[in-house]
């Protein structure tokens, strides 16, 4: 996962990219002809200093290696921004970044 966050004009802008296959469950493996089982991120939580700023609910219709960008008020340089995700197979990941 890559996170970039910075403050500009009293607002923080966050850009995050999570590396994930985001399989829909509809695609077929070309070699074996078998359907590739669904494997996608369902939920992403974004927290600023422990307080929730954005909750994402995703389905298989979100692109591979999903990207999300958003803005929020009340942040200052040096604050912490945490992004954590879970997928439909129980996989998860968390990363914390400092707002620049």
């Amino acid at each position: 996962m890559k996170i970039r966050a910075w403050v500009d004009g009293g607002k923080a802008t966050v850009k995050a990219i999570i590396f994930h296959p985001m399989e829909t469950g509809l695609r077929k493996d070309k070699a074996s002809g078998k359907t590739i089982p669904p494997h996608y991120i369902t939920e992403v939580k974004c927290e600023h200093n422990g307080k929730s700023v954005l909750d994402c609910f995703w389905g298989p219709g979100v692109s591979k290696n999903p990207f999300v960008s958003f803005r929020f008020k009340g942040a200052k340089s040096g604050d912490k921004l945490k992004v954590s995700w879970v997928d439909n197979k129980g996989g998860k990941g968390t990363k914390e970044a400092k707002i620049g």
């Binding site: 607002k11 829909t24 509809l26 695609r27 077929k28 369902t42 939920e43 600023h48 307080k51 929730s52 700023v53 954005l54 909750d55 994402c56 609910f57 995703w58 389905g59 298989p60 219709g61 979100v62 692109s63 591979k64 999903p66 990207f67 999300v68 960008s69 958003f70 803005r71 929020f72 008020k73 009340g74």
Partner: protein, 156 residues
Amino acid sequence: MNTQRRTFLTASMAAGTVAVAASAGLLSPSTVLAAWPAKAFETKKLDVAMKEVIGSTKATDSKDIVVEAPDIAENGAVVSVTVKSKIPNTESITLFVPVNAFPLSASYAIAANTDGFVTTRLKMAKTSDVVAYVKAGGKVYKAKKAVKVTLGGCGG
């Protein structure tokens, strides 16, 4: 006393209370959305997904919502979509691609300090509208943008 019957009655009454509370709209949208709405994401029917995730199939067209997406997407696997909502107290932004196998793409719960703004990348099976629904103050608003897809992005 028949204890089994007693247990059954208590359990069914408790379940009934929750159902009544939910149907009366006593559960606020944030509590309903606290968990990932599996039914909404797994359905292939647009109206079922809408009802599950937004709580309504009706929405008012709004000029305060802007959906930014390319006019022509060469690759339907990655279509960058930005939604900007100027509606005060925007609570959630939900994105649908009606032609996809699973029409509900993504839903974002917006906190009080967060702008009504989100950028994301979606898959599109073929040429379609991208429809954004914004929930604010208990009402649902919508806006859309047509995207021409030259190469579908849902495999198969």
